[in-house]
Subunit: 352 residues, 2 copies
DNA sequence: TTGAAAGCGGTACCAG
DNA sequence: CTGGTACCGCTTTCAA
């Protein structure tokens, strides 16, 4: 476990000074260092397997090329990890490293995490949440360029830009898919009031239904939460013992787990999806939507894109010649969701 | 976006030298610095909201208090994130920060990630995988203390310690749970050959069945993969059109998604779980096992414990007075799985 | 063309 | 008890 070689080691081995090593290895050797010194330096560096100490570089340059990512439970939860994946990919491609700190849903730890990251001199910050939600920006976060992903500044006068999914359009296009298949009685299991995504998707649903000239039945919109279990019970209520003519022909769900519950209920009742009932999810959850039986038609959240967009915006600011110390404009960027058609939706029964 | 205050700023404001600031703020003021200077220093520090620059500290101390975590797809996948969660919690409680680098299943990037982390002078490394698997340790990883979590050194002469789940015992105790409910014909949907966990769990299954004095039927052990869909089809084959007396009374699955597929198949066939058929999962996947209808009995993987154990072992070495530069013994630590009994398993049919 | 020296921010030693 | 100074590893300026 030997210590790493330093520039001084390389210099000694090549018989030159540290400065020469620095110049050559940073491509500024030409015209400053004799050609044969250059060769000796490069060779010595290779032999010693030299690469510069990033800590010393950071101190010297007053830039760490580290972006801090604070998230509420993204690493641990099965959702939304791809936001970080998308952000990380962009960072890596531009020579940055990300440090992720998860607060495990303890909002009190946001400020601590930001402080830790700031003490480590990160060049920028991104805050990511599991699920769209308002976010109380901790004060320290305004000291470096920062962007919010999947959340938005909760203050009366927002200070930070954010990147979020276009939920209204998502809800509308999901509904339009079902309307296009001939469905006119579409129930919507809408998640819960706590998520700001819920009213937005409902808005999209209403827009689509109304635009199709269909009357909106308020009792078809139900806030039932987000789990398999609650989807199951809601579907049972909608379907069990109800005459076919009075049943919805399609159930749109605010996430894929609800859709799993609905399919479970349908099969318990002997209904075949999509022949007797179309079921549609939301999120395109990895290894759930695509492997469900039947595979779920769903509205995919643009997770990687959101992360990538947020990181791109941030790095553009950080790498700006002004020194990356300017705060970003508090703009809103909406990223479109993506319709994924699979096997759980089909023509309305009796439409042939 | 003002720059952070430095020790010099504090010193000036308090009218003392940088050294005094350093002593006082590190609790070594007593007996070295006049009481009233101490007060002035502390006050100045508070007013300027001073906290030391961790980069400078790292350079000075030759210690970063950063642990690098390299993983193959843990952040992005819905599985095993809790390994990192458990590791991170321990690190945080001991004043360390973790930097996670995800290689997105590209083994070629392991070495790069390690190099990047080493350039940043991490004090130690942990490699985490999604799912138990052998791991080719990149050379650089031996330059600092390192531990493997959920994977093990693939070399003939292992160089690194690892922390893995006790899969044999897990398989055995899962089977014993079903045997204890009176089941004698238990099918096992065993995942796939690619995972080293599969044969281990099968071993546990065999041990338990044999110990109960029941003959092992090889055709009851089936490698069917890991998805909802494949569980569904396997269950249909086992149950559809088969006379009740020839059906297994319980199906043990190598993960919870398979179990979801089995339940789906059962309900399509009009079988009620667990009345007509017991179904058991493995993993205790978050928001799947506990919210399934019925909620799944399962064998929980000790994800957080594994992460915590790996990190504890690593930090014990890093914080060792020898300077934390010693390589760890290549030991094996097995963490027990945990039986979680819910509603998908019950007494064998007709046992009352 | 080269090397010496300053400085990034902090700690720790040592002389006063 | 206090302040000056060297050093961690690197880059950059400046003088030789």
């Amino acid at each position: 476990m030997q210590r790493k070689a330093t520039a001084l080691d390389v210099a000694k081995r090549a018989g030159v000074s540290r400065s020469a090593v620095s110049l050559v290895l940073n491509g500024r050797g030409e015209g400053n260092v004799a050609k044969e010194s250059q060769d000796r330096i490069r060779q010595a560096a290779a032999e010693l397997n030299y690469s510069p100490n990033a800590i010393a570089l950071s101190l010297r340059n007053q830039r760490t090329r580290v972006i801090g990512i604070v998230c509420d439970d993204v690493v641990v939860s099965p959702f939304d990890g791809n936001i970080i994946g998308g952000a990380d990919e962009v960072a890596r491609s531009r020579g940055f490293v990300t440090v992720v700190m998860d607060t495990a849903f303890d909002a009190g730890r946001d400020a601590d995490a930001v402080k830790t990251l700031l003490d480590r001199q990160v060049d920028g910050l991104i805050h990511v949440t599991v699920g769209l939600k308002p976010f109380d920006v901790p004060p320290g976060m305004l000291n470096v360029p920062a962007v919010l992903a999947n959340c938005y500044d909760n203050a009366p006068a927002p200070a930070l830009p954010h990147v979020i999914p276009d939920e209204v359009t998502g809800g509308r296009e999901a509904s339009q898919h079902l309307l296009g298949l001939g469905h006119r009685d579409i129930a919507y299991l809408a998640g819960s009031d706590e998520s700001p995504a819920s009213p937005l998707r409902i808005q999209g649903y209403r827009d689509a239904i109304a635009a199709a000239g269909v009357a909106i039945r308020e009792d078809r919109i139900q806030m039932v939460g987000w789990d398999i279990e609650t989807g199951f019970h809601a579907a049972m209520k909608l379907l069990d013992g109800v005459p076919p003519a009075e049943r919805p022909t399609a159930i749109l769900c605010a996430n894929d787990r609800l859709a799993v519950g609905v399919v479970l209920a349908a099969s318990r009742l002997g209904l075949v999806v999509p022949r007797d009932l179309s079921v549609m999810g939301y999120d395109d959850e990895y290894r759930v939507a695509n492997t469900m039986v039947p595979a779920l038609t769903t509205m995919a959240l643009p997770l990687r894109e959101m992360g990538a967009t947020a990181m791109t915006r941030l790095l553009d600011a950080v790498e700006n010649p002004d020194g990356g110390r300017r705060r970003l404009e508090p703009t809103e960027t909406m990223v479109p969701c993506r319709l994924v058609v699979r096997d759980s939706t089909g023509p309305v029964p009796g439409s042939r």
